[in-house]
Amino acid sequence: MKAKKLIGRKLSNIKTCRSQRTHRKLPHPTSGDATERTLPAQIAKVQEWIEQEWHPCTDLQFRTLRVNQHELLLVWIQGLVAKEYIQSGILQPLLSGDLTLETLRDVADHLQTVTIDPIHTLDDCNVALEDGKVVISLDGQSRGLAVDVSKIPGRSLEKAENEPTLHGPQEAFVENAATNISLLRKRIRSPRLKIETYILGSYSKTSVSILYIEGITKPALLTEMRERLLRIHTDMVHDLNDLQEYIADEAFTLFPLTEETERPERVAANLLQGRAGIIADGSPFCLMVPATFVNFLTSPDDYYMQYSLVLPLRVLRHVMYWISILLPAMYVALLTYNQDLLPTPLLISVTAQHAGIPFPTVVEALLMLAAFEALREAGTRLPRAVGQSVSIVGTLIIGDAAVRAGLVSPGIIIAVASTGVASFTLPALGLVSSSRNIQFLFVIVAGLLGLYGILLLGMLLVGHLVSLRSFGVPYMSPIAPMIWSDMKDVVIRSPWWAMKRRPRQFEPQNPVRSDRMPPGPKQQKRI
């Protein structure tokens, strides 16, 4: 029961469209009884209590003011606030004239800041400090004020690095939720864009927001999302990945069941398809649900290019996905079980290549795949400049030397390298990592049963894929179950004017994008 009390609660309801973070009745984890304690009337007691509560915290700062016999206490945490704003917004107005500050109301009236919230309890006080607000307490008043002059450190907007595109907008989310939301507001200028904020994590108190468009997103989806988010009991939410692990439909799967993106315009487009987004403070990504398999094979570039040019790229990506899973396994199967499938000259050539290699093909393949993974891991962990030289050394020099030394055959190098290239064509990192793991399984079964094993594991894989659901939406839709009208954005990307309806797989409340027929080339007049 205790734990239940600690979980975050939904604070703003759907109708009030507030993205600002407000706290009410949120218990402090260390002092459970602080919840009901009101602020003492004497500022000395307040200061004493705060000092005790935060001891030792050297970044806590106090300042007492005396304005016309009225004593004021200002408390804040260094680094979270902008001192120049305290100077200009609080100190200057209060100290400038001959003011009578009988009540907190008087104080508030004179402050030159935007957001001022009342503080009733000691706990409110803690929360305000954590948020980077200045707490003002007036002697003799058992309430206080929280003045928002926060300047929480963070980086500025940068280019999207994980999802680079050639065309289209380039800005990406940052670690600040408010900034991220504003990036979305910039794109969807409608009050129908709703943001519901929850505080999760008893220590981290991370604000997690659900974003959706009222009137488009299926209400059942939202109910489900709220339920799943509120089920989370934890002390800290590090990143969106924690959330995705908590809320995903299926725990034991290698496939990503939610989609992560760092591009605000992508989120905006997806919200308008009837999906919903989740943003967590501190994570420069947005999580989109429901996610389907084909979502991971679409790149943002697909939408910034002429639609007819997208078709070959999409086909290529679909093929490359299966190649990235199957190619090493196929190589093993063809060389150890199904040699009849190889054309005779090719068979002669691989036989000659493989002569004198000490390992069986399957071991060779597993070794090379593992080596490739190690190189890739080394490349990502090292600084960029060094990383490149590592990959050059690894691929060119070690590979060549291994072949010359007769440790591995050139064929397996080609197969593993092509697999790597194939996996690099996939736009979504989540899918790449899963396919890298699955390819090992396939290599092992290919070593045990050849192509037959690949087929059987393939059936298991397909069975698993089609049994998955992401927030109720079948993972493989619109392929299986087949939703013909949604096939417009799977292998082909239809022109915008042909996509008159939102995808049916997400069951949007309002399925039509526009009440008038969007102009196709035929409806337009020739000039």
Binding site: D340, P343, G450, Y452, M482
Partner: protein, 358 residues
């Protein structure tokens, strides 16, 4: 969540329920009786499909939203109904073991000759049990997923093989009168088309049960088309050898040789056939488990899927000592057995319901 099988899914299920083994066995079964006239035999499948559609439609009208096992119990009472359901259960068990045995025999004969058959069979049934464990919806979706792949790759194989096609193989027509033609039609009419009636068991899960008759007709038309194509090609390419080949269609693919690079594609064909065969076994196994569930009023088939798979695995090797037993069962026992079971029982139920339970 309510399971819903869409019409497209139902049709793909029906197609592979017949063609899974149909592609492998029907041409050989037909060639036992006639070769020159073999091309016209698949056309008879439409009659079988029509009959099946009629039975299914009547059944659906009489027992809307009821599976075969439930209907048996509702209309004949607990004791007689259960007796009939047990009979159906035995039938389903024999059917699924036959198909499983055909599958493992095909795989071991054609591509993995040194691996013991029971190992291959175990792997096959592992996949089948997993699919059944995941549920009917998953089987239907895998069907939907696999069908386009098969439909793309199989015609390519056949187009490549057309080079060896000879029209003379179809002459003389009707040389031996109609009798061989009628006999050759028996197996596919009474074995394969009646297999479609297992969908009576999944009627409660259909999205639109009222169209079941139409869907069966569409599926039979597709099956007839594919079978005609296959049988015609087989006879045109392989000729009289069809009568002594175990897997004549495989031989079409094995005879392909275009240039030095396009040849020996039979492994690819085997992969396609095995994948559809696994779907067929999965569908039958699902119906077996579902009937079992209805008989004992169990909560789910999740426990039955695996333990039932184990029994099917050992049973498929225990019941049939060799492939001759399997063919004997298909050719000599099954036609009347299937007719009495899959047409007789639904008609009996319909009649009882109409007569006594007005």
């Amino acid at each position: 969540m309510q399971i819903q099988i869409s019409r497209v899914q139902l049709i793909t299920i029906l197609v592979w329920v017949v063609l899974g083994t149909g592609i492998v066995t029907i041409p050989a079964a037909i060639a036992q009786f006639t070769i020159h006239d073999a091309w016209m035999i698949p056309l008879f499948f439409l009659f079988g499909g029509g009959g099946v559609a009629l039975v299914a439609h009547l059944f659906m009208k009489t027992f809307p939203h009821q599976s075969l096992a439930q209907a048996a119990e509702n209309s004949l009472g607990h004791i007689f109904g259960s007796g009939l359901v047990i009979w159906i259960l035995i039938w389903l068990y024999l059917a699924v073991t036959t198909i499983a045995r055909e599958l493992s025999a095909f795989a071991t004969t054609v591509i993995l000759p040194h691996t013991p058959e029971y190992v291959i069979s175990a792997f096959n049934l592992f996949v089948v049990a997993y699919l059944v464990y995941l549920g009917l919806e998953v089987i239907a979706r895998v069907n939907e997923f696999i069908t386009p792949l098969v439909l793309i790759s199989v015609p390519i194989l056949f187009i490549l093989s057309v080079r060896n096609f000879e029209f003379e193989q179809f002459l003389p027509m009707f040389a031996d009168g109609m009798s061989p033609i009628a006999r050759a039609a028996v197996v596919q009419l009474l074995d394969y088309s009646l297999e479609m009636l297992i969908v009576l068991q999944i009627i409660p899960t259909l999205e639109s049960p009222q169209t079941i008759g139409k869907d069966i007709l569409i599926a039979s038309a597709i099956i007839t088309g594919i079978l005609s194509l296959i049988v015609t090609l087989t006879v045109g390419i392989v000729g009289p050898s069809t009568s002594y080949l175990n897997y004549p269609v495989l031989e079409i693919v094995r005879s392909i040789r275009i240039g030095k690079f396009i040849e020996r594609l039979d492994t690819l064909y085997v992969m396609g056939v095995v994948s559809t065969l696994i779907l067929k076994v999965a569908m039958f196994h699902y119906c077996l488990c579902d009937t079992w569930k209805d008989l004992f009023h169990l909560s789910s088939i999740r426990l039955l899927a695996w333990s039932g798979g184990l029994v099917v695995w050992t049973g498929s090797l225990f019941l049939f000592g060799n492939m001759a037993d399997v063919y004997h069962f298909i050719m000599d026992t099954a036609p009347i057995y299937f007719l009495l079971t899959m047409v007789g029982i639904p008609l009996l139920l319909i009649a009882t319901q109409k007569l006594f339970k007005k």
